[in-house]
Subunit: 331 residues, 4 copies
């Protein structure tokens, strides 16, 4: 089971404020389960990755993101601590990995980048070994040979790349990324059906070109809840009390910051809104946040009573949790 | 906060039965907090080490132990998994480290060996930076220059080595190891007093020459409880149910196996006996287990009511716990 | 460009005598180019692996080999140094890797094992990206999903496994391993031809089940020389002068030791015999060594003048060298 | 034996132009000995470090340098490759380490930083174990406890810090850094003499506060040559031919770039000037370069015939070389 966080701001954030300093950052949660808001779920450090875009465009440096990955736990990585104090970015993906699939290797650490695009995943594709070969067969040579690791997640990114008219484009229309994401999920579902796989797949995917973010909270089931996904927005994200206690403030009307995370990253749960199961969120280049249903055979409309009775056991058994119904008990 | 386990048997154990297969091994506890018998304490994987002695003496191979250490988490170390399936030993030390002191480096992973001796520590020497230089000044050149890391634990081993008539001896009288251990603790206490350090030090130390084991459960306080330490003995340690459920059996009268661990490693808490605070346990070459009080100004006799009212908050705050009084609540 | 060595003996060798102590071991060659007998070739440390079989069969431990791999340079790996002092084996594969293909990852370190089999490769399959997908398509699911890395070498092993009637067998007839090896090479050649690849592939492959060894010196070219391969045999391999100077002695008539290596490992070049290009060597369980031509369209009979005019430039440009003709210049 | 390079420019350099792209960079030299201009010396990859200062001051980020270190070889470090493409700096230290002293550990990788200061070393202090304890005894507690590794080099930096009025100052007068450097060398020499050490120490030290650079080429001997040290200056450092062939150009009168390196980094040896043995070079904040003799009992004036007859065998035997006299033989 993994953790991730997405940051998009009108101003760059010093990475340390996102990663190393907050006591509830995904890194420190992994370090000490007492720091986690929901302590029932185990979390581990089988690899870490952070990817970011430059805050100022420099022609020599280009527009692709930079990625730092590690197979030693993030909480104890001196390079990460030092870099996080020196790097600012308006668009960050960060991911703590537990090796549910794939070996411990830099090749298997999220996020991955391809041209201007960056991708990460929280979840797992059920019985991936059964569909892997046919999925691979559908990829163009260049994308097939680009894959360096052995995780379902990196192959899912490869599949998404194959759905884009030009994966090496400099800019992507949000609609193009959305459609590619939807086709990726549909393609995986079709393969799973073809091979008679009945276990649901947990597909919380995120992709960005540095301007637009498309993230999904999805499960290929009508009766189970997807792995959790939350967002928060505000004008500043800062430390309000010593010891790494951060909060999102709304000091003015404008929303300068949007964060999406696998679980709330501050004590103020009120600051965090749950993303609905089998929906896609899009952060547009102009910082609008849209929530769009992924309508397929696993979709249950919010108006349908079944929507609120999805079971949380499956995700929990996989090490994830749907915090929806238990959020009322949060301190 | 760390975890350790000591195994001494009349027959060699395959390391996998101690380390990688039991669902409650110190490695798997670190991986998934749900597997831990006491879940309140966080545990992490900031390095791992295992040391063992050969099961059959081979002149070419010598009598020193072999040590395997790692800075990536043990639960995901393919080398450890493969080695543990292939190595058998009658005398094993294993240690999971959390970096309370010292950086993440192989030099800082327990256990360490020097000649035939092997040493590990669970705990921490209070304000070690204040006494480090004077402690160092008392060491012979050879031992001073042997230290490769920057932990209080390795310096404590160096100090213990300096208390031995010949640290490179091929065999040690149990009484010699006991005395050196006692002098090591006394020396550290004297330095702490000299520098006005009032915070207690947690000194659960273990040393062995491959035949004798001396382990302490000690705190330099009259009012606080030491970090926990348990032992179990029996004739076989084996899997009684699938999924890595192990237990210690007493199928015959003889005790072929003695294990000492920072916390019980099986669900059968009845199999585990707590070692008393500020005592030393000695496993003799002939598999007798002695429990000897460490009588100094921090000693409180068991008959003294104060002995049962030592507080558990200090050790707990440091990430350790004295499970004595709460053991009755265990499932 | 890589280095490897195979050891098979009637008595087990302490790994240190093969790996860490000899000044000309593949590890120390990698460390200091001045120690190499042929200094023109660069050599590096992008990963290391050693695999060995137990010297005494133990039912609990099974008959599969144990493998230790590392992505940090072998010459500086404290775990390797310590293990090599403590492990003895009658059948060892060791490999130093330079990342001509594949990323730096434990998954990509040779040797690999599957059941009782162990495999390694020195060379490279030309334009592997072009044939990879079709090669993959021919593998059974179980073998396809077993592959964890992204090197041509591991896929070649997977292909070889697919040529065996039962890759999980406990014992293999030497003829079965030979045939599988030959079919592997033929299959790769057929794919290369199908995709119009004209650059030769360097296929020095080694496989063993712990009893039989099959190693090839092969190039898919009639005009170029394969990467070098040598063997030496004798009754003892020991240090004759301080500083790690080893030699192979023939103190009695029997040949107790056979070594195969990518280049001579001792100063006495007379002790080393070159294996002919496009031949296979087989060490039988009874320690006979056979040299068998691989007769296909790239084979040139030794009687043919063309056999001695194969060019060495190709292998050299790839970082390998055919030392055949220059061996006369050796000191 | 190690390699280092210092870059100071009026404009920031993209780190890739210094580290990963030039075929003669210290990283690529380590990778392939054929790329080295002087191939007689072995070079290895036992750790790597690069430290840099921001190109634009940002109050939130502060003025301390950022450091990235690695124990896997630099040539194969994906994080380094990615960071080097994205980071620009006007003041860079980079170092490739061979473990002549100290274990393989991030703690032992150069450069180190303390406040605004950054330090690295190429060489070795003779019989450091003999003087280590007395050197340590002279350090203030804070600096003593700051040292995390076990190399002579990091202790030398600690000694230098102890010679500064305020090692945490925001700015240092060049004269202050020069004097501290001279006192550091004198202190080490005095200790060596006290302990009767006759073997010379190689002390090519570099320190910077981000504005001033002080570097020494020094040996504690009147008859031996120090390890080599070169500098080059110009207006642009750029690729003139594909394949990473870089040169220093002097397109205008101004000197915008000064580089100091343990060996020439381009084929144009004429671009590189040797720094004289037992001299100190200072790059001032305004980009002036001064060469100042270190006058002590090991100093031999250039006018003295003995100056040109220093032997190169000692440094060579240690893995270094004084290329002075052989530079005429260069290709």
């Amino acid at each position: 089971m993994c953790r991730f966080v997405i940051y998009k701001g009108t101003k760059p954030v010093q990475l340390s404020h996102l990663l190393t300093r907050p006591c509830h950052s995904i890194i420190n949660q992994a370090f000490d389960s007492r720091l986690r808001l929901d302590r029932r779920r185990p979390i581990n450090g089988d690899g870490f990755g952070v990817g970011w875009y430059d805050s100022v465009y420099d022609e020599e440096l280009g527009s692709q993101p930079c990625i730092f990955t590690s197979v030693t736990p993030a909480w104890n990585n001196v390079n990460l601590v030092r870099l996080a104090e020196k790097i600012k970015s308006p668009m960050v993906f960060a991911h703590v990995r537990a090796t549910t699939a794939g070996t411990l290797s830099l090749d298997n650490c999220h996020p991955w980048s391809y041209g201007k695009l960056m991708f990460m995943h929280n979840g797992g594709i059920a019985e991936f070994g059964k569909i892997k070969r046919k999925l691979i067969a559908s990829l163009p040579d260049e994308i097939f040979n680009w894959v360096s690791g052995n995780t379902d997640s990196q192959w899912a990114f490869a599949l998404l790349l194959s759905k884009l008219p030009n994966p090496e484009a400099k800019r992507f229309n949000p609609a193009v990324l959305q459609r590619a994401m939807q086709e990726t999920i549909a393609h995986i579902n079709a393969l799973s059906e073809e091979y008679g796989i009945t276990e649901p797949s947990l597909m919380n995917f995120c992709v960005t070109d540095g301007e637009t973010v498309v993230a999904t909270r999805y499960i290929s089931s009508r009766t189970d809840e997807a792995a959790s996904l939350w967002f928060s927005s505000g004008s500043t994200f800062s430390e309000y009390a010593e010891g790494g206690h951060y909060k999102m403030s709304k000091t003015d009307k404008r929303e300068n910051i949007i964060m999406i995370a696998s679980e709330p990253l501050t004590f103020e749960k009120a600051d965090w809104m749950e993303i609905r199961t089998n929906h896609m969120v899009v952060i547009t280049p102009k910082m609008n946040l849209l929530q769009i249903p992924i309508v397929d055979k696993f979709y249950v409309a919010a108006s349908d009573p079944a929507a609120s009775s999805r079971g949380t056991e499956f995700a929990a058994a996989k090490g994830f949790l749907s915090p929806r119904r238990d959020s009322v008990h949060a301190h």
